[in-house]
């Protein structure tokens, strides 16, 4: 018979928790969000066979890193909710606490809190190789006796101690008997009254409830209980900030005694890691070289996402084109065939095309994060970006956004503060991404004369540069605006640990990349495919007999007669639902100088901005071929405005359209990713509206000024 056990991993940040998690679960892991919040929940499973032949199925939850059970940020609320509330769906049978052996005191603080919760727990003392190297000895037998829980020395990097941990997990460990500190003494009446009111495992849970009465999910469906306990607290004048401070000092007092007993520094050598870290920091955090190196790293990342990703993306594109042709030819002609090829397959292609960029970007980010460099980036950039409501770590998403907002927004996860992360996500799509480039290129060549200044500086190039700059300024300006509009869920701190430099753990990096790709495909991907199908329906079907006639003519038209084919395709698009919508929104977009043809392109290019060029080709009967861009340009240049009889694409319309594309949220993939990263449709819709209004107003103003 298979027995099931729930295990939670908990520990300080940088204690090697994720390495241990990966060791235990391998690729049997899933990332989701904890219910109701956008905090990443990593779960995984493993099986352990015990010596008596029974098998155990272990479900492991990796809780966000924290220094204590007292929640200060959104992430830190999770360990507290999971461990203190027995009704929580992730509440463990066994809690595994991971301690950094090189900083035992601080790790024992969290450990001692968990011991006092009185549920089965195991302490893992990690990084034993470094502890031994620095000439320190730890008496584990004594430590285990004093804590009242099993203690396992470990080196998670090379797997030393893993088997001991597995055995300990299934060994039916008892509830710790000893109180690490006597919490009941801190607030005797309150603890007693709460325990009389609710059934609890320990005095310390009661004490925690007293301290976090508003946060704990425990009472969410029992508000009268919560009110009752609040009444108890008021009656006894319970001051949680004094209580927490007293508890913390008391714990550290006991811990200091304990550490003196169990830790022997024989011939303490200053740790090599620390000396190395200090030397490297002198360079990497230097006031000049530090920025120079960071800039160089950013440049390489940008190159990777922009240029290196181009050829695998091209291959994905070709593979899907090939598949489309094969599928199209293999199946009988008809609606189902078209839906499969132009709707679903095109949508899938639109998802897979992002994978090279996501893989490359996250390889870099995972390396920077894992080595400890990212904490330094935060440190160096904090003062500059804080003013805009952003975080030091926002630099990576913003720069990556110049290539593509999709991987960029996924990378904003490294920002711990919810408000700063949200603002980063909201403004990143304003950075000029590579999908805008074909649109800009077409429009610039259409309305900007090819002047040269001083012989080398081209006007067209200057305009392109200006568009990138405008995107950047809009992003920073919007961030500043949102700094005042977005409410903070918690107080923003910058108090964080700067870890010592470590070699990247390639396995961890591999897992990170696999997980990011998996999450993108399965969560954002389905939205992208769905919207892609909707857009296909809009542009490939239409009401009335006229549409049907054109469609039939197109199907029976002579394949060799490209002119007729192109003409009919344009007619078909005009009569389709997309065409009708394009014409319907003409009154709305007319003040910007746009006609219904541009209206259609605005709708279809919601799939991806560069679709604008393809749609223009179809509308102007050029055929969908990329090589025909020059022809599209000629056709668009020759286009006359119905009312004025002047060229439709003049300077004013060109700029108006360029600004519209610079600001508007014309990208379903970005919206799908924002939905996934913020947890619901609220923020992507707000973002859509904000960027739309910004685009409309800017285009309106520039059109009025120039015409």
């Amino acid at each position: 018979m298979i027995k099931r056990l729930k295990v939670s991993l908990v520990g300080n940040p940088n204690s090697g928790k994720s390495t241990l998690f990966n060791r235990l679960t391998g690729l049997n892991q899933k990332i989701a969000n904890f219910p109701g919040v956008t905090v990443e929940k990593k779960t995984g499973s493993m099986t352990i066979s015990s010596s008596d032949g029974s098998d155990y199925q272990i479900d492991i939850t990796d809780l966000p890193g924290t220094y204590s059970l007292y929640p200060k940020t959104l992430e830190e609320q999770i360990p507290f909710q999971v461990l203190c509330d027995p009704t929580n769906e992730s509440h463990p049978d066994v809690t595994v606490i991971i301690a950094d052996g090189t900083n035992l005191k601080r790790s024992l603080f969290l450990c001692s809190q968990i011991v006092d919760l009185k549920s089965p727990a195991i302490l893992v003392v990690n990084m034993m190789d470094q502890v031994t190297k620095s000439g320190v000895e730890i008496n584990f037998i004594r430590l285990s006796k004093e804590l009242g829980i099993p203690v396992i020395p470990m080196n998670a990097r090379d797997g030393d101690g893993i088997d001991f941990l597995k055995n300990a997990i299934i060994s039916n460990i008892p509830v710790p008997e000893l109180d690490f500190i006597e919490t009941a003494l801190l607030a005797p009446e309150v603890v007693k009254a709460i325990r009389q009111s609710v059934k609890l495992n320990s005095n310390y849970v009661a004490f925690q409830i007293a301290n976090n009465i508003d946060q704990i999910s425990f009472f969410n469906d029992r508000q009268e209980r919560r009110a009752q306990i609040k009444e108890i607290l008021n009656r006894h004048g319970f001051d949680h900030s004094i209580m927490q401070a007293t508890e913390t000092l008391k714990r550290y007092e006991v811990i200091s005694q304990l550490v003196k007993q169990v830790v022997k520094a024989k011939n303490a050598i200053p740790s090599k890691e620390k000396t190395f870290t200090r030397k490297l920091d002198n360079l990497l955090m230097h006031r000049f070289w530090g920025y120079f190196i960071f800039l160089a790293i950013l440049f390489v990342i940008f190159q990777a996402v922009f240029a290196w990703a181009a050829w695998p993306m091209e291959m994905v594109d070709q593979a899907f084109t090939w598949m489309s042709i094969k599928v199209h030819d293999a199946l009988p002609e008809g609606v189902f065939n078209d839906l499969l090829v132009e709707g679903i397959l095109a949508g899938l292609g639109g998802v897979v095309i992002f994978i090279p960029q996501i893989v490359l970007l996250f390889t870099f980010i995972a390396i920077l994060e894992d080595t400890g460099y990212m904490a330094r980036v935060s440190f160096m950039m904090d003062k500059l970006l804080r003013r805009f409501g952003l975080n030091g770590r926002s630099v990576i998403p913003l720069i990556s956004g110049v290539a593509c907002a999709v991987p960029a927004i996924l990378s904003a996860r490294t920002i711990a503060s919810w408000k700063e992360r949200l603002i980063t996500i909201l403004v990143t799509p304003l950075m000029s991404c590579s999908a805008r480039l074909p649109v800009y290129a077409l429009l610039i060549s259409l309305v900007i004369p090819d002047h040269k200044y001083l012989g080398i500086i081209g006007l067209q190039g200057l305009v392109l540069f200006a568009l990138y700059l405008i995107g950047f300024i809009a992003a920073m300006g919007s961030a500043l605006l949102m700094k005042f509009l977005v409410k903070a869920r918690e107080r923003s701190y910058f108090i964080m640990e700067i870890p010592v430099y470590r070699m990247p753990r390639w396995k961890n990096i591999g897992y990170t990349i696999v997980e990011k790709v998996r999450v993108f495909i399965f969560e954002a991907g389905k939205v992208i495919v769905a919207i892609s199908v909707v857009l296909w329906v809009l542009s490939s079907s239409g009401p009335g007999d006229e549409f049907k006639q054109v469609k039939k003519q197109l199907e029976t038209a002579d394949v060799a007669d490209t002119e007729l084919q192109n003409h009919l395709a344009a007619e078909k698009l005009r009569l389709s639902y997309a065409g009708i919508t394009g014409r319907a929104i003409e009154p709305i977009i007319e003040p910007l100088g746009f006609d219904w043809k541009i209206g259609i392109a605005l709708i279809t290019s919601f799939a991806a901005r560069e679709v604008f060029v393809g749609t223009m080709s179809t509308i102007y009967s050029v055929g969908g071929n990329d090589e025909d861009i020059a022809t599209v340009r000629e056709k668009m240049m020759a286009e006359k405005n119905d009312k004025t009889g002047l060229p439709q694409y003049n300077l004013a319309v060109g700029w108006s359209l360029m600004l519209f594309y610079a600001f508007a949220m014309q990208c379903m993939s970005t919206m799908a990713v924002v939905r996934r990263e913020t947890g619901n449709w609220k923020w992507p819709l707000i973002q859509f509206a904000f960027m739309g209004v910004l685009a409309y107003i800017s285009s309106f103003i520039i059109y009025r000024i120039l015409s």
Binding site: R106, F109, Y252, F379, M380, D382, F494, I498
Partner: protein, 79 residues
């Protein structure tokens, strides 16, 4: 002896001081948990290139905090 207390934000690069008390309750709790206890020695190891935030070495680890946050930590310089 209160007159001898300084704010942590006033300590110069490379200098050490002893943590005495905190003037902000929420931050006090956060710092205590991370091992910044009264009586511990802090050394200012680095300032970010624009003079803010600062990095301190305390109790086996390096922490960073903004100057506005460091202003809530009172320290004394003992010889």
């Amino acid at each position: 002896m209160r007159g001898d207390f300084k704010k942590l934000s006033e300590i110069k690069l490379g200098e050490s001081a002893v943590i005495e008390s905190f003037t902000d309750d929420t931050m006090k709790l956060k710092l205590l948990e991370m091992g910044c206890l009264p009586g511990e020695i802090v050394t200012v190891t680095r300032f970010a290139p624009f003079g803010d935030p600062m990095a301190i070495a305390v109790a086996d680890s390096m922490l960073s905090l903004r100057m506005s946050e460091a202003a809530n930590v009172l320290v004394s310089i003992r010889s």
